[in-house]
Amino acid sequence: MNMNLLFVALIPLMGAALTAWVSRFGRMGSAWTAGGVTLLALLCLLPSAAAPFDGEVIVQRWPWIPGAGLDLAFRLDGLGLLFALMILGIGLLVILYARYYLSEHDCMGRFYAYLLLFMGSMLGIVLAENLILLLIFWEMTSLSSFLLISYWRGREDARTGARMALTVTGLGGLAMLGGFLLLGEIAGSYDLSVILTMGDVIRAHPLYTPMLVLILLGAFTKSAQFPFHFWLPHAMAAPTPVSAYLHSATLVKAGVFLLARLFPVLSGTPEWSWLVGGAGLTTLLIGAWFALFKHDLKGLLAYSTISHLGLITLLFGIGTPLAAVAGVFHIINHATFKASLFMAAGIIDHECGTRDMRRVNGLWRFMPYTGTLAMVAAASMAGVPLFNGFLSKEMFFAETATFFEEHAWGWLLALAVVIAGMLAVAYSLRFIHDVFFNGEPVDLPRTPHEPPFWMKAPVAVLVAICLLVGTLPAYTVAPLLQAASAGVLQAPLPGYDLAIWHGLGLPVLMSILALTGGLLIYAARRPLFALAARLEGRLDARAIYDWALGRTLDFAGAVTRRLDTGSLQRMLLFFMLSALTLGAIGFIGGGSSLTGPRVLLPVDGVSILIALVLVAVAIGTLILHRQRLTALIVMGALGLLIALIFVKFSAPDLALTQLTVEVVTIVLLLLALYFLPQQSPAESSRARRIRDLGVATLAGGGTAALTWAILSRPFDSISGYFLANSVPGGGGANVVNVILVDFRGFDTLGEITVLALAGLGIYAMLRELRLPGPTHDDAGRPWNWDAHPTIMAALARLLLPLALLVSVFIFLRGHNLPGGGFIAGLVTAVALIMQYLTNGVEWTHRRLSHDLHPLIGWGLLIGTLTGLASLIFGYPFLTSTFTHVHWPVVGEFELASAIAFDLGVYLVVVGATLLILVHLGLMHGASHPKQGIQQESR
């Protein structure tokens, strides 16, 4: 089966890890790897690239979570192909450019890894066939763009900008999830192939409007449409290659892509026209206005990006097929000229050390080549004839002119877009005139000169595309545009003409008006600048955002403070009372009797005895709870009793686990208790204790009643299946172990992952923690000087091989007899902890590597690889197999593939347990260093 589309999206994601790893071997390595990965993804795309030109749609599908209707389904039509080519092509240029842009201090591996992550997510969006899959990739772009924008994480503005981008696009993504769910339920399928054919049904559905609003929220936040446009200028704190990539061809285009993707389904209603057209027009005007007055070079480009996105949105909002074609065309053109302009701005910033256009002047003398390239790109942005921006802008003007003729108030739209066109000409002119002419540079940190050739090359490539498309559209962009437009419309294409000259008419008149008007506005810029300076801060969406964010945080803080006063008793009280209330309501409402029909088993003396001792020990712990050490010992007795109960009811695996866990827990608690006073004061008043006693009795009684109710009813569980299939299916007689490593192996994999993460988390918290430990016991005596008595130390060393032998024994027999990786891991951990306790950390670390992370990592890797191995043989994940081998001494031995998985479990358990306990123990050493010195001298 052909699966190249999956790989197109996956290769950059996997390449991200590779790139990050390769950067260990040198800076340039990661740049080469990133470029190679991108090329590989492009090569993967090529076999399918011809189909969309013939009007075919390729759909490739692998079941992922079939029960939820979620498949790894990818589609390639003209629109997807156009975007994939832009993402990969411009991505390649950005990778080349960034290699020269990043300075020695910036970590290249991290940069390229983030970039590839983002690239993969973006490719996922444009190639997704399933809406939910699209949304997953959509959220991944939000996350990876957050990482990219905050790349210079030391800078406050980068962090703020990244957070803002994540908040706004994340909120939009949430709204979009709601919209997609509505859309999927209306259409009855989440597959785009189905949805795109059901436009009439969807538009007529009563839930159309809420669904439309939710989806548009997602698209508008991503594409920085008014009123969500404010995050984009703040995202300019990112390195310029990131801006060139995110804000020309990719991130912000994702929203526009979505409009184009769902165009056949959602467009054609008044709601669509008003919402999309209105937002587009407002954004177009506001963006163009602010762009003119930004003194920051990238700020100007940011607002012009907002404005152009508004233009594209407006075109989709107009809703005619021809407008959609124009929208697609402008997507292509904007990507090329904006990427080159951002790169040019980056070069200028790189060479001058500043981007302030009040200081960066007259660069023409220093960098004529860059100047020429920037001029061509800016002319394209302004819509000057013979450049590609002109063609799509002309189509745009033609569309608004048609609108003008067909609607009563259409002249307003035409007027607004002409004003926006004038402003675009003015800010493009400003970009060129201010930077390259307009007198001499003012107080630049560096003397500018031409950048290295390969830094200019990407700009030159993009500018060449601008020129070629602008002069020879029919020979260059026409087939791609046709395929992409067909992908958008999903219908026969309207007739259009890509000629440069359409003859005299309203569109040409509008173009001329825009060009001359733009020149006039720029000529009259000084009074306008003064006006803009006075208006500065009046319409600041950021202030509203900050206000809303602040209020939300305050509200959340107030609610949390009200509920969580830091008192554990209070939390437990809430919890118990709500559980009791819900349980009581359920029981009374259910109306069934407490005792079920099952015949009770006879009671034997041993069980009663153990139960009574258990009760006595539990009460004893309660009474002794203020003497912490004593209470702990009593609790240990409780644990041992429970192990006995497991033995009594023939659950030897549980008993072994309970025993070993008990030992580890006691050691852990002892280590922690060291930092606490040995006596805890009485903290509750008498009335409160009586209340707590009442609640505890009720809760305990409720649990007992529930257990009684369940146990006294006949209950068919799945255990019969496990017992019957353990030997034939899993090849092991120990059902518990077979369940752990085979039947529910996926659960176990999840659990050891959680254990590994918990271990690493605790390690991260303890690593730099310094707690002052007491130097005396509570009677004022100093601790004994002899922390590691010789007799115990020597004999514990003798015990180590014995204990390890036991652990190997338990591990190997685990599949058929009580034991297994988990118990063996705990036994090993206990044996090693014995060495730490009796011989000291220094002694043990001299003999045993204290780097436990690889152990955990290997464990997870072995567990996962065992699971993946079954995929290679065509079985589901974690299928196990087994065979019998004859070992020379041991005799007949059963070898199951599950034993490899069990080895993974074993390693993770050993690693995580030791990691936690050893670092808790190391805190002791750090808390009284004097003892450490004494040990050294001994």
């Binding site: 005596r781 100093p782 004994n784 000087w785 002899d786 008595p789 007799i791 115990m792 004999l795 514990a796 003798l798 015990l799 014995l802």
Partner: protein, 121 residues
Amino acid sequence: MLDILLSVLILTGAIFTFIGSLGLARLRDFYTRLHGPTKATTLGVGSLLIASMIHFSAQGEGVSLHEILVTLFLFITAPVSAHLLSKAALHRRVESQAQVPAQIEEAETQTHFAAPTVDRL
């Protein structure tokens, strides 16, 4: 013959265990009390284990060696716990019936750092 041997061993074990327990209950201070149980674990349990070994080996199902492992663990753990208990008692200055040797008494009156000196004994 075998039965007589086994009976003697079991009785010896039982007597020593009983004496050990009695000592734990009746002796007057911590250090002498410590003496009792250590006898019970070595001679008492030791005799019982030998009896068990002989008995199960005579059943005709091969030599029974589990008891050696039990003995090994006992021999490793019993001295360690006794040693640690006595160290703790010395550190906490648990009162003893015995006379403090003259040398030590002298040293204790001269210096304030008495505890380590006692400990080093």
